[in-house]
C-alpha cells in the first residue's frame, strides 16, 4: 500500500510535538517549530524508505486530532511502533543544521590530529609503574 505524507500532516504535527515539545529554558524549538512535518520529515523518510511503510501504518492507528493525553496514545501503539515513530521524528529533528549548531554538534567530522606522544608516554608509565595485572601460568598437561 502506498502512503501519502500529506494525508497525515495533522497527525504528524501533534505526534511530533508530543515527542519533542519546545523548551524555553534551553531555547530549543518544538518539532513543528523546527519544521519537522513539512521540511525535515520528508527528508528523513526519503533516507529511511525502509521504515516508511511501518511509520505510516503506525500513524494510521492514531486519532486524526490530538487526544487528551497524546503520549499515552503513542505509547499504546506498542514498543515497535513507538520506536519507529520516535526514531523517525527525532531523526528528522536532528537533520536541522540550526538545531545541531545550538547543540554544538558539527556532525562526524574528518579529524587530522597528531597525538601528543609525550603525554601518552607519561600516562602509560604511571600504569606500568603499578606492575603487571595478568596471571602468569605454567603449561598444562594438555599443552603439546
Amino acid at each position: 500500500m502506498t502512503y501519502n505524507i500529506d494525508d497525515f500532516q495533522t497527525r504528524i504535527a501533534w505526534v511530533a510535538d508530543a515527542l519533542i515539545p519546545s523548551d524555553a529554558k534551553s531555547g530549543m524549538p518544538s518539532a513543528t517549530e523546527a519544521g519537522v512535518p513539512e521540511r525535515l520529515l520528508p527528508r528523513a523518510l526519503k533516507e529511511r524508505d525502509d521504515l516508511a511503510p511501518s511509520f505510516f501504518r503506525a500513524l494510521s492507528r492514531l486519532p486524526e486530532t490530538q487526544p487528551e493525553d497524546p503520549m499515552d496514545a503513542i505509547c499504546a501503539l506498542g514498543a515497535d511502533d513507538f520506536h519507529t515513530i520516535s526514531f523517525l521524528i527525532a531523526g528528522a529533528y536532528f537533520l536541522d543544521e540550526e538545531i545541531n549548531r545550538k547543540l554544538r554538534y558539527p556532525g562526524q567530522e574528518a579529524l587530522h590530529e597528531t597525538p601528543d606522544y609525550d603525554e601518552i608516554m607519561e600516562t602509560i608509565e604511571r600504569v606500568q609503574s603499578r606492575g603487571p595485572v595478568y596471571v602468569d601460568v605454567p603449561d598444562s598437561p594438555e599443552s603439546v
Binding site: 515527542l19 515539545p21 537533520l95 556532525g107 579529524l111 595478568y134 599443552s143
Partner: protein, 552 residues
C-alpha cells in the same frame, strides 16, 4: 537443478570470506596452493553509508545493521532466538563480520589458555600463549593494529605496529581516575590504521567503525586481504550458499555442494582440503546440515559437540553524565581505552574469571535518545526530551563490560528444520542462557565501573546488565582439543573425524577469554595454515570412487 559441467579441482576449498577464511586463503595461495573461496554474500557497498552528513545517525543502521534478523539481507539466514538471552550479530558477505566489527584488538592472556589449570573449571586449550604469540604478531601487522605497546596486562612482547590515536578529554578523565584508584587502564588498541598501511588509509575518526568504514581505515579483510588474495589467483565465488560438505566412502572430504544464489543452480565444488570459516553459527550449521548415512549426527561430530558450548561474551554497560562538554561522538567508536583490571579471577569474588572494560564513543544527538548504551529510553520523550539531550550529548561516557563466558553444553546452536533460508537450507536455533557466574560477574564489574565513573567526575551513573543485541562474538561451537571424545578439531583446526577438513573461526575456541576474539581467531587461522603448508605432502586426500570421478 544441478549444473553437470565438470568443475576445476582446487587444492583448498574455503567456505566463508571473513577474517579466518581470508587469512588462510592468502597464506595458502602464497605457497602456490590453488584456492577457491565460496562466500554466501557479496562485497559490502560502502556508498550506502552517509558517513559525513547529518544523515549519518539516521541511516547508519539501515544497510549496515549488525543483527541479521533485522537486516534481512538476501545473504542472511533466519536465526531463531526465542530461547536465547543474547542475539547474535554478524555480517554475511566478503569481509565477514570484520565489515561491522568495532575493531577493538586484543590477544588472550596466558591464563585464558589455562582456565582449568588456574581455576579448576572449564578447559585448558591444547596450545598456550607462547605458541600463539608469533602468529599474533604477524596478524597484528596485517590487520594494521594501532595503539601503544607495553601494556602490563600482557606478558612483555606485545608490541603494537602502528602509532596510537590522540588522547582526548574523555580518555584523560579515566586515566587520572584510574591513577587515583590504582587500577589498570590503557589507550585503545584497534585494528584501525592511524597511518597508511596495507591498503588502508589513516583513520579520520568519523566514528562509523561498526557501520562499515567508508574512509577505508578499518582493517576489514575485504580491504586488507582479499585484494592480495585475488592477485595471488584465489578464486572468490560470491553469493554461493554452501549446503553441505561432502565426503567419500573413505570418510574424507571431497568438496562442497553450494547453491548459486543468483541463478538458483546447485553446484559441486571438489577440493583436496576443505576449510570451513563460516563463524560460530554458520560453521556448526553447515556441519550439522552435512549429515549423511555415514555421519547421521552431522559431519565431524562423533564427539556430539558440534553446536554445543556456545559462548557469546555477555555484555553490560555503565554510563556516566558529566558537567563539562567534551567531544564524545568521534571515533574510534569501539575502543578509545580499555581496562583489564578485573579480567582475571579474584579471590574475593563469588565468580570465576573476569571482564574487559572498553571506553567507547557515545554517538551524536540522535543516539542520546536511543537505547544504546542507556538501556530503556521510555522516559526521554515529551517534556524530558531536551533535558535528556542536554545532559547526554557531549557530556557522557560509558564503559562497555565484556564478560568472559564459560562453556556449557546447554548453550548451543542447532538446526531449525521448521524454517529454511531462501535456498532451502535449514535455519539455526540458538539456545542460550546466561549463567549465574555470568550474572555475578556482571554485577561485580558494573559496580566497579560505576566507581570508575564517579572517580572520573560523573555526577550521575546508570548501568545496564546483559544487553540483548550484543552477540558479536560467537564462540566455542566446534571446540578444539587433543581428545577426540571431548573435542571436534585438534589444536591445528583439523577435524578428528575427517582429516582433510579444517575449521578456522571462533567456533574452535574452548573458552572465550574476556576480550574481542578476532586477533586470536586470525592468529589461529594463520598457525593452522602454516601447519597445512608444512604437512601438505603428507595430507590425506580422498581417493574414494566419488572423488576420482570428479578428478581429485
Amino acid at each position: 537443478m544441478t549444473n553437470e559441467s565438470r568443475p576445476t579441482v582446487y587444492d583448498v576449498v574455503i567456505v566463508g570470506a571473513g577474517p579466518s577464511g581470508a587469512v588462510a586463503a592468502k597464506r595458502l595461495a602464497e605457497e602456490g596452493m590453488s584456492v577457491i573461496c565460496l562466500e554466501q554474500g557479496g562485497y559490502p557497498d560502502y556508498t550506502k553509508l552517509r558517513h559525513s552528513g547529518l544523515e549519518f545517525e539516521l541511516t547508519k543502521q539501515q544497510y549496515f545493521a549488525a543483527n541479521p534478523n533485522r537486516r534481512r539481507a538476501p545473504a542472511d539466514y533466519p536465526i531463531n532466538v526465542s530461547d536465547s538471552d543474547i542475539e547474535p550479530l554478524m555480517w554475511n558477505g566478503v569481509g565477514g563480520s570484520s565489515v561491522l566489527y568495532a575493531a577493538a584488538w586484543h590477544r588472550l592472556k596466558p591464563s585464558d589458555f589455562r582456565v582449568r589449570t588456574v581455576d579448576g573449571i572449564a578447559d585448558d586449550w591444547p596450545l598456550n600463549y607462547a605458541e600463539l604469540e608469533p602468529f599474533y604478531a604477524r596478524v597484528e601487522n596485517d590487520f594494521a593494529v594501532s595503539g601503544v605497546g607495553g601494556d602490563p596486562a600482557y606478558p612483555p612482547g606485545f608490541d603494537i605496529p602502528l602509532p596510537p590515536f590522540p588522547l582526548g578529554a574523555m580518555e584523560r578523565k579515566f586515566a587520572t581516575a584510574h591513577d587515583r584508584l590504582g587500577w589498570h587502564w590503557w589507550p585503545g588498541s584497534n585494528s584501525i590504521a592511524t597511518v597508511k598501511h596495507n591498503g588502508l588509509l589513516p583513520c579520520v575518526r568519523r566514528g562509523a567503525c561498526v557501520w562499515g568504514c567508508f574512509d577505508g581505515a578499518k582493517a576489514s579483510v575485504d580491504r586488507t586481504h582479499w585484494p592480495t588474495c585475488l592477485k595471488l589467483g584465489v578464486k572468490l565465488v560470491q553469493n554461493a550458499r554452501v549446503l553441505r560438505v561432502e565426503t567419500g566412502s573413505d570418510g574424507l572430504a571431497t568438496g562442497v555442494t553450494y547453491v548459486d544464489r543468483e541463478t538458483g543452480l546447485t553446484h559441486f565444488q571438489p577440493g583436496r582440503i576443505v576449510i570451513v570459516s563460516a563463524n560460530g553459527l554458520g560453521t556448526p550449521r553447515l556441519l550439522l546440515n552435512s549429515a549423511s548415512n555415514d555421519h547421521p549426527n552431522g559431519l565431524a561430530n562423533s564427539s556430539g559437540l558440534v553446536g554445543k558450548r556456545l559462548m557469546m561474551h555477555p555484555y553490560g554497560t555503565v554510563s556516566g553524565l558529566f558537567d563539562d562538554f567534551f567531544e564524545n561522538w568521534q571515533g574510534p567508536y569501539g575502543q578509545r581505552a580499555y581496562s583489564l583490571e578485573f579480567a582475571e579471577t579474584r579471590k574475593e569474588t563469588n565468580f570465576y574469571r573476569g571482564a574487559k572494560w572498553q571506553l567507547m564513543g557515545m554517538g551524536g544527538p540522535l543516539a542520546s535518545v536511543g537505547t544504546w548504551p542507556w538501556g530503556s529510553n521510555g522516559d526521554v520523550w515529551g517534556e524530558n526530551f531536551h533535558a535528556t539531550v542536554q545532559k547526554r550529548f557531549g557530556r557522557s561516557a560509558y564503559w562497555g563490560i565484556m564478560a568472559e563466558d564459560l562453556p556449557s553444553e546447554d548453550n548451543m546452536v542447532s538446526l531449525d528444520p521448521a524454517v529454511t533460508d531462501a535456498e532451502g537450507m535449514s535455519a539455526v536455533k540458538i539456545t542460550y542462557k546466561a549463567s549465574q557466574n555470568t550474572m555475578d560477574l556482571l554485577d561485580f564489574n558494573l559496580a566497579r565501573a560505576a566507581e570508575s565513573m564517579k572517580e572520573a567526575g560523573a555526577y550521575e551513573v546508570s548501568g545496564t546488565p546483559l544487553m540483548r543485541e550484543t552477540g558479536w562474538h560467537i564462540l566455542g561451537t566446534v571446540r578444539m582439543g587433543n581428545d577426540p571424545r571431548t573435542s571436534v578439531v585438534d589444536s591445528f583446526g583439523r577435524s578428528h573425524d575427517v582429516s582433510n577438513l579444517f575449521i578456522m573461526d571462533g567456533s574452535v575456541m574452548p573458552t572465550s577469554g574476556a576480550v574481542n576474539p578476532t586477533g586470536t581467531v586470525t592468529a589461529l587461522a594463520l598457525r593452522n595454515s602454516e601447519a597445512i603448508i608444512e604437512n601438505r605432502r603428507l595430507q590425506p586426500v580422498s581417493t574414494a570412487a566419488e572423488a576420482l570421478k570428479v578428478g581429485l
